[in-house]
């Protein structure tokens, strides 16, 4: 397995005045192999989206680096960098309602990438757009329509066509299904995995729906307050979580099975994710952790591999 995208101690802080900083992404090292789907899960405010955006250059990096095929990418992108990298890395956004320009037709939205980044002529662009509309399950005739004429699921398909028409190698999917209905979620997931197989895509799949992430991903990374707490094979992390936070996150996810839900004790934890402005010393999860020890409040646990190198956990229990 060769690494396609690699982040090394990547951090992204936002200055919010009065010498205060939001530690949105703190020291994350993650390797994504070629043709792999890595699921990134965590609560809102844990920095998942910021991490995804920083990786593809929509945010300048505060420190650390991102490598793409071994090449170190610039700390902050200039227009020329976007021009060069847009055909290799793309992003599918969370909200299909606000991420499409309401004043552009679907044809214009999908063709924009091609017009900017390829040398194709007008008629060729048009036929490519038609081809992609069909590929994502829409009709070629939809080209002249506007976003408001489409349902959420259809818009998300438009977002997928827009991102994939340049045939990028790496795509960040930022909660692509969380705004959609259950029956439509499955349609979009199946479309993504089909396109992944035919195009050989590598995906960073950001979501908060754990059971869906397990279905989609090869590996799963769990994020809490800006840092990774656990990384491993999706099934192993889901069925045998090691970090107390992962355990709680998975336990909180209600299963569509009444008998199981009745027999299961409540796993709700007290408290909420703390502010990323004043990050607590030691382990960031210590104040909510049911297995907290004295050392947790003092020393920050590092992400260390367990017996098999596949699983990494940042917890003093291991």
């Amino acid at each position: 397995m060769t690494a396609l995208v690699e982040t090394l101690e990547l951090s992204k802080y936002f200055d919010i005045g009065r010498k205060q900083r939001v530690h949105a992404v703190d020291n994350i090292s993650l390797t994504i192999a070629e043709k792999e789907i890595v699921g990134l899960v965590g609560e809102s405010g844990s920095g998942k989206s910021t991490f995804g955006k920083t990786v593809i250059g929509l945010h300048a990096k505060t420190s650390g680096e991102v490598k793409f095929r071994g090449e170190i990418l610039p700390q902050a992108y200039r227009p020329a960098d976007f021009q060069r990298l847009a055909s290799k890395m793309q992003m599918i956004f969370q909200d299909p309602y606000s991420s499409l320009n309401p004043r552009m037709t679907i044809g214009e939205i999908i063709a924009e990438g091609l017009r900017l980044h390829s040398t194709l002529k007008g008629t060729q662009v048009k036929s490519r757009v038609e081809e992609w509309l069909v590929r994502v399950g829409l009709h070629a005739g939809h080209m002249s329509r506007y976003p408001h004429e489409f349902s959420g699921g259809q818009r998300q398909r438009i977002g997928i066509a827009r991102a994939l028409i340049l045939e990028p190698e790496f795509v960040v999917c930022d909660e692509p299904i969380s705004a959609l209905d259950v029956s439509v979620q499955a349609q979009v997931i199946n479309l993504l995995s089909e396109l992944k197989d035919t195009l050989g895509l590598t995906l960073l799949f950001i979501a908060h729906d754990l059971s869906m992430v397990r279905y989609v991903s090869d590996r799963m990374a769990v994020m809490y307050l800006g840092s990774l707490v656990e990384v491993g094979k999706a099934d192993e992390v889901y069925f045998d979580p090691k970090h107390p936070y992962t355990e709680i996150l998975i336990g909180s996810n209600p299963e569509p099975d009444p008998e199981q839900e009745r027999s299961r004790p409540s796993t709700a934890i007290q408290g909420e994710i703390p502010s990323p402005v004043n990050v607590p010393a030691g382990c960031r999860f210590a104040n909510r952790c049911p297995k907290v020890m004295d050392v947790c409040r003092v020393e920050t646990p590092q992400l260390i591999p367990l017996q098999d190198a596949e699983r990494q956990v940042a917890c003093h229990l291991y």
Binding site: E43, S44, S151, G152, G153, Q154, D181, V182, S183, V184, Q185, A186, Q187, I189, N190, H208, L210, S211, M212, R214, Y215, D235, Y238, F239, I248, L249, G251, S252, N253, P254, E255, P256, D257, P258, E259, Q260, E261, S266, T267, A268, I269, Q270, E272
Partner: protein, 348 residues
């Protein structure tokens, strides 16, 4: 005959909704959002209404609460009786507004449902002042008490804060505190946890269950998450295209699904069974356009088992078991071939 109708002759339920229909006039024509919905809610039980966006689940409860904007909305038929008293179309019963006193409601998005210019404590105190005639001082003291019941730490301090100082989970707790202030007999929760994280969702669901145990109120839970249904519900109504397509006890719905749509929803959900193959079964297509509702069964174009009759005639809701019914032609006694995965009662 529907359950609501048969139930009436024996033990009246707390809330009985019968044949409710709501439509909206828009520039594009008339949207028939709810097309004849009947269900009953029992005392102290949780009734879940499940369905996709646009199926009419929110419109149904808004009509009951008198929250349907009229115009453009119009309740064209039906009745909703709370303890035998008709509530549709009138909010004042025995000189009292039922909204906020006998029926409490919490909404999906706590950030936009609260008034940003009033303190949390004042907002919770408001229903007590309006419905109970409490003085502001007494109502505010009660509001602090309610905030601690909904497990908000430092309630006295928090009551003087504004909504922007609260997190999403805390705001939802504050909204629950407001909804239960007058001890309603029914709490309507319209997608109460959709905007929240799973960990916070678990906290809110636990809180609702605890409150139900203490106060004995009934809950109508509107959701599209089958996991939440499994966790919370006693009874379930599955809605599609403005109609209830299947209803029954929670076990009936999950283990003895009698409508192809319920079956489809279940198959589209990821399960936690490690042996299952990594492939989801989506329901192809999308729900029908309610500007021109289909003459036949609304689910017919997406249904893998559709027959000739489904396209031309809408089925009645047919009994499948005790308090379990399904709106599907396959449940008709004369249906010839019935797929194995569809439950059709204990027939010989």
């Amino acid at each position: 005959m529907t359950t609501a109708a048969t139930g009436l002759q024996h033990t009246p339920s707390l809330l009985e909704v019968e044949d409710l229909a709501v439509e909206f006039s828009t520039y594009g024509g008339i949207v028939r959002a709810v097309r004849g919905v009947s269900f009953a809610v029992e005392r102290g039980k949780t009734m879940a209404i499940v369905g996709e966006s646009g199926c009419g689940k929110s419109v149904t409860v808004q009509a009951m609460m008198g929250l349907t904007p009229m115009p453009p909305g119009r309740i064209t038929s039906g009745s909703a009786r709370l303890n035998g008293v008709e509530v549709l179309g009138r909010n004042i019963i025995n000189g009292k507004d039922i909204r906020g006193s006998q029926i409490g409601m919490i909404f999906q998005d706590p950030m936009t449902s609260l008034n940003p210019t009033m303190t949390i404590g004042d907002q919770i105190a408001e229903p007590l002042q309006v419905h109970r005639g409490y003085s502001h001082k007494r109502a505010f003291a009660e509001a602090i008490e309610l905030l601690s019941i909904t497990k908000i730490p430092e309630a006295a301090k928090r009551a003087r804060q504004y909504p922007f100082e609260f997190s999403g989970g805390m705001l939802q707790r504050a909204m629950i505190a407001m909804a239960i202030a007058c001890k309603p007999s029914i709490l309507i929760a319209d997608e109460p946890t959709t905007a929240l994280d799973v960990t916070i969702q678990a906290q809110i669901l636990d809180l609702l269950q605890d409150l139900q145990k203490e106060t004995g109120m009934a809950i109508i839970l509107i959701t599209h998450d089958l996991g939440v249904v499994a966790r919370m519900a006693d009874d379930v109504a599955v809605m599609y295209a403005g109609k209830v397509v299947e209803q029954g006890g929670v076990d009936d719905i999950f283990y003895r699904s009698a409508h192809p749509y319920t079956l489809g929803l279940k198959l589209a959900m990821p399960t936690n069974d490690p042996s299952k193959q990594h492939k989801l079964n989506p329901i192809e297509g999308s729900p029908p356009d309610l500007f021109a509702p289909p003459i036949g069964c609304g689910y017919c174009p997406r249904c893998p088992y559709s027959m000739k009759i489904c396209d031309v005639k809408d089925p009645d809701i047919l009994p499948v078991g005790k308090k379990h019914e399904s709106r599907c032609w396959l449940q008709h006694p004369q249906a010839i071939t019935v797929p194995d995965e569809l439950y059709c009662g204990e027939k010989a």
